[in-house]
């Protein structure tokens, strides 16, 4: 899956990932391959991603919104 993390000041991350875990407004959830299209608001918390080569990365975000469509994930964060 292609993931993009964008803030108003910079593009934080672009790359291929296996798994994304985000702090959704109704609780944390994970996005894996072929996830159904979803738009969700995010609260303050940790975004955890696992890249193709199994390296793990963690970003702290302060509110945001995520859109998943056809294995393309766009995460708009207000602050990292």
């Amino acid at each position: 899956m292609k993931l993009e993390i964008v803030t108003p000041d910079a593009k934080i991350y672009t790359g291929e990932v296996k798994l994304v875990q985000v702090p959704g407004a109704d609780g944390s959830f994970e996005v894996l391959k072929n996830h159904a299209p979803i738009i969700s608001t995010l609260t303050k918390g940790k975004v955890q991603i696992i890249e193709e080569d199994d390296t793990e990365k963690i970003f702290e975000i302060d509110k945001g919104v995520i859109e998943v469509m056809k294995n393309k994930i766009i995460l708009l964060a207000e602050k990292i």
Binding site: P8, I38, S40
Partner: protein, 291 residues
């Protein structure tokens, strides 16, 4: 015939001016590059946000129940006039001032008489302009010193709050949009209340899951997109300012070069004339002695 010393002094002063304008051009060029990068960075964010928002609002009937979309008519107006702190950038500042003033005098003259028009001035130039005309101005001109999202968002939040509290019924933005280094587009936008986003391509109709719910997301996204819209306007204006200044200073440098050329021609002519004169005097003097 201009005297030699006069022309020489003028040439020196034109030369100094040319040095200053060409230095300013260089400075603006490098600032422009940075400002341009900032605007290019925010565009994907802004575009995505508006896209998501338009995806959402397409499936909603109206935004009426959102506090940022309430239409209360045209009683109290706030004009956010964005230009720059400094001059020497061609018509950049004047365009914004004139447009904002025209907006006020054409559409809101009645409100102005009742004292219901406020101007939020971003930039010293526009602040001075409206204060001289006795229009109620609020000043925000230190924004350009720290132009990042963290410093801008409290300002937008204050505007949004005063709209929700009913202090203003309509908020307009007047600013220069950055097209390229030589071109600025003068923009007037209705900032508040929010008008429904027009969807260009309804073909991309995907069945999204919404979490927590469509309404909640809209509620969350509208303030966010307002902040981004305002921030983007500032970045646009900032980049446009440097572009305008660069162009203006480039022209000024060219003009100075032309002037210098004309002056040096004049100087050489005057010098030649005085030499001819002197020789003539010497020759005729010698002839008088011989005769």
């Amino acid at each position: 015939m201009a005297n030699l010393k006069e022309v020489r002094t003028r040439m020196a002063s034109v030369k100094t001016t040319r040095q200053v304008t060409s230095a300013m051009k260089m400075v603006s060029a490098s600032k422009l590059r940075r400002a341009q990068e900032a605007i290019i960075r925010i565009r994907p964010y802004a575009d995505k946000l508006f896209e998501i928002l338009s995806n959402l609002s397409e499936s909603l009937d109206s935004l009426e129940d959102n506090p940022y979309a309430v239409d209360r008519g045209f009683n109290k107006i706030l004009i956010v006039s964005i230009n720059s702190n400094r001059g020497l950038c061609g018509a950049f500042n004047t365009n914004v001032n004139r447009k904002a003033l025209q907006l006020i005098s054409d559409d809101f003259s009645e409100q102005l008489q009742n004292g219901n028009v406020d101007v939020l001035a971003v930039g010293k130039n526009t602040f001075d302009f409206f204060r001289r005309r006795n229009i109620n101005v609020v000043n925000e001109n230190d924004l350009y010193n720290n132009l990042d999202f963290d410093h801008v968002s409290p300002v937008v939040e204050a505007i949004m709050k005063s709209f929700v509290d009913g202090k203003y019924d309509k908020v307009y933005l007047v600013y220069n949009e950055f097209k390229n280094a030589a071109t600025q587009l003068l923009r007037t936008e209705q900032f508040l209340p929010v008008v429904k986003v027009e969807t260009k391509n309804s073909a991309t109709n995907v069945d999204y899951l919404f979490e927590p719910s469509k309404e909640e997301i809209i509620k969350d996204l509208i303030p966010k997109s307002l902040k981004i819209q305002f921030y983007k306007a500032l970045l646009d204006s900032n980049a446009a300012e440097h572009g305008a200044r660069m162009t203006a200073m480039h022209q000024a440098t060219d003009n100075a070069t032309d002037l210098l050329k004309a002056l040096s021609l004049q100087y050489n002519k005057a010098r030649q004339a005085s030499i001819t004169n002197e020789i003539l005097e010497i020759v005729s003097g010698a002839e008088a002695l011989n005769g």
